[in-house]
């Protein structure tokens, strides 16, 4: 008779039989299994551990690093990179890459400037049009990639140059458009009142706990997974306390969290979201299973473009203008680096939207910490380069291990 098949919720739920090993051995064994599970599933846990190390190191170098005021600034700094990284993650999950998000953000910001400053358009309508513009540009690229089979690297490289030209064309001969709408400025320059921050934290905390309890009652999660809402709750309380100790929760950071929650829900709970992972893991297998691979690929680029435009909105709001440098510089490279550092695989099929937040915090945290240590720009670039190299190396090693494990499994069979 065959053994029963258990619908366990997590590899860690497979509890090995109790033995008489020493507590330290068991602790080491658990740590190894945790690390193996975390790495193989592409979670952001190793990146979170890196974030803790960075925090401890820079706090030891500068007493201001973990101060509420600096952490609040860090959160605002990380927002733009994180939003672009989030857009990048949608295409990285497919195994593609989007090299045009920086100039797409710039072109969208330029369009916003024209609509607000020259056209005197209502700010909400202007934002809607600029986001639709980003979606259109993303879909345009997605069509070439999905239907004509042209590599994303080539299409988005061309898009990077083309959209930069579009940005300059929209901006016109002056090169910069001031955006003085107070509503647009409020998107990056305001904070939630302290009481509102706590009320929001309470609502989110209760929603997370209630959702987990409902899922537990339905048998959807294991007992061990009940610790997750506790961790989330503690994180929310700590974050709000830190922000409130400064000036309150920054609005752009709140926008980022809202985008991340929506993106998490879509990628984890909807079929198009899960199909992103399936296509990234094995596009042919997904096609044979009936997944509309071309549509998924085009949709991912449309979402990526929309988030590129959202990044342009935050950049324009933060700067109070749209210029030739909006979306330029190292923004795109930092965003790709943040996505990979956060645990998203460059080879597709592995990662999480939360990688955008964690990766952006690492990139911005290193920059911020080095600023506090009075390091020069060349040093900052070199340190960031080393971090990205280490993250990509880890990704490659994991992929190789996974492939080797599969070959071994086949050989054993």
């Amino acid at each position: 008779m065959s053994e029963p098949v258990s619908p366990a919720a997590h590899p860690l739920d497979e509890i090995p039989p109790r033995d008489h090993a020493r507590p330290t051995d068991r602790l080491v064994s658990f740590a190894k299994r945790w690390l193996s599970a975390a790495l193989s599933q592409g979670t952001a846990m190793p990146a979170i551990a890196s974030l803790v190390i960075i925090a401890v190191f820079f706090q030891s170098q500068s007493q201001y690093f973990l101060s509420p005021g600096n952490l609040s600034n860090l959160a605002v700094q990380a927002t733009l990179v994180a939003i672009i990284a989030l857009g990048e993650i949608f295409v990285l999950l497919l195994g593609d890459i989007d090299l045009s998000l920086g100039s797409m953000a710039g072109a969208s910001a330029a369009l916003l400037g024209v609509m607000i400053t020259n056209g005197h358009m209502p700010w909400l309508l202007a934002i809607f049009i600029m986001l639709a513009f980003g979606a259109l540009l993303g879909s345009f690229q997605g069509w070439w990639i999905a239907w004509l089979g042209i590599p994303a690297f080539v299409v988005t490289l061309a898009g990077n140059m083309g959209f930069l030209g579009l940005q300059l064309y929209i901006l016109g001969p002056n090169g910069t458009l001031g955006i003085f709408d107070p509503n647009i400025a409020a998107l990056s320059g305001t904070e939630l009142p302290v009481s509102v921050g706590w009320i929001l934290a309470a609502i989110v905390g209760v929603a997370v706990v209630a959702s987990t309890l409902v899922r537990y009652a339905r048998g959807g999660v294991a007992v061990r997974s009940l610790s997750r809402p506790v961790v989330v709750g503690v994180l929310i309380v700590v974050a709000v306390a830190v922000f409130n100790a400064s000036r309150g929760v920054p609005t752009p950071f709140l926008i980022l969290i809202a985008l991340l929650v929506v993106a998490w829900w879509v990628t984890m709970n909807t079929s198009p979201g899960r199909h992103l992972f399936a296509v990234g893991g094995n596009a042919e297998a997904a096609r044979r299973a009936g997944v509309q691979v071309k549509r998924i690929r085009m949709a991912a680029f449309a979402v990526s473009g929309t988030l590129g435009a959202a990044g342009g909105l935050i950049a324009a709001s933060y700067n109070g203008s749209a210029g030739t440098l909006t979306g330029g510089g190292t923004l795109l490279l930092e965003a790709i680096g943040a996505a990979v550092i956060g645990g998203t695989s460059l080879f597709g099929g592995r990662g999480s939207v939360w990688a955008a937040l964690v990766g952006a915090l690492i990139m911005s945290g290193v920059e911020n910490g080095l600023d506090l240590m009075n390091s020069d720009q060349p040093v900052k670039y070199m340190v960031q380069g080393v971090i990205v190299l280490l993250a990509v190396s880890l990704d490659t090693i994991l992929r190789r291990r996974q492939s080797r494990g599969r070959q071994l499994g086949a050989a054993i069979a």
Binding site: G219, R287, V291, R350, Q402
Partner: protein
């Protein structure tokens, strides 16, 4: 998708260096009913399917049929065109010419989705699994279960897990202890059992098996053979590719031998021997 009398499968192509007369005779033997007459029990009919890849003619005017409650074994040497034929029927590749009939009705299968909507499910030789997804997600890929309505409509993981566990138990698969294990962490045999479970998850009227026991141990292979027999008893039409002659004679009602992309012979296990089948596979007269 049931699409009647449309598509470009009708195109007639000239034969590149093939013999026409023996084919006609073979078609007669494959399809004793012949012509357009369709018996009520016929689940699947492949009629004159050809497929070439560049200069290589993988299939040339292949015709065969499978009745409800019948197991047809498709055998042949490497390169005979067995997997290509399975891919044509399952919509993975589009043939150059030929028609498919399901329950006597002409259908156009241009994608795996079309095949699934015609009630055709396939276990491919390469298994076609996503290594980064777990067992549950692979089983339900492309046919997920949902709960909720409107914008809150979401995947019903709890139901999918329960049904996956039940499906694996029903198949007698006890080698997978955790159905949330990513495919990459499973052995070849475990992966094959998942592929079998995926194809049989729904009660599809037509099942195509491309080497379903190639990576399995004796116990799992026995379960699959018993499953094939059980499905046949339930009325499922099964087309199975296997190199295992013992299994062929154990489960098949008819044996179709492919040789160099053509139907070489059609034999009944009750009136032939493995030696005769092997001779036919090698292209010698049975």
């Amino acid at each position: 998708m049931m699409v009647s009398e449309s598509g470009d499968l009708q195109a007639d192509r000239s034969e590149p260096g093939r013999q026409a007369a023996p084919i006609a005779a073979e078609r007669q033997s494959v399809m004793p009913r012949g012509g357009e007459a369709v018996a009520p029990s016929e689940a699947l009919r492949v009629d004159g399917v050809s497929k070439s890849f560049g200069l290589v003619q993988a299939l040339y005017r292949v015709s065969l049929s499978v009745d409800h409650g019948e197991v047809v074994a498709l055998v042949g040497d490497n390169g005979a065109g067995k997997s290509t034929l399975i891919k044509v029927i399952s919509g993975v590749i589009v043939p150059d010419e030929g028609q498919l009939y399901v329950n006597g009705e002409r259908v156009v299968v241009r994608s795996p989705n079309d095949a699934a909507q015609c009630g055709i499910r396939t276990i491919h030789q390469d298994l076609a699994l996503a290594d980064n997804l777990d067992v549950v997600e692979n089983l339900y890929l492309g046919r997920e279960l949902f709960r909720g309505v409107g914008p809150l409509r979401r995947l019903d993981f709890a139901a999918m897990r329960q049904r996956t566990a039940a499906a694996l138990l029903e198949l007698g698969i006890g080698t997978i202890s955790n159905i949330r294990t990513p495919m990459a962490q499973l052995s070849g045999g475990q992966r094959q059992t998942v592929a079998v479970a995926r194809a049989t998850l729904e009660n599809c009227p037509i099942l195509l098996f491309d080497e379903p026991t190639a990576s399995l141990g004796l116990k799992e292979a026995r379960h699959v053979i018993e499953l094939v027999q059980r499905l046949r008893a339930q009325g499922t039409a099964i087309l199975i590719i296997t190199h295992n002659m013992r299994q062929v004679f154990e489960v098949a009602d008819r044996i179709v031998v492919l040789h160099l992309g053509k139907v070489g012979a059609v034999l009944r296990p009750s009136s032939t021997t493995p030696e005769v089948v092997v001779r036919a596979i090698m292209g010698k007269a049975p």
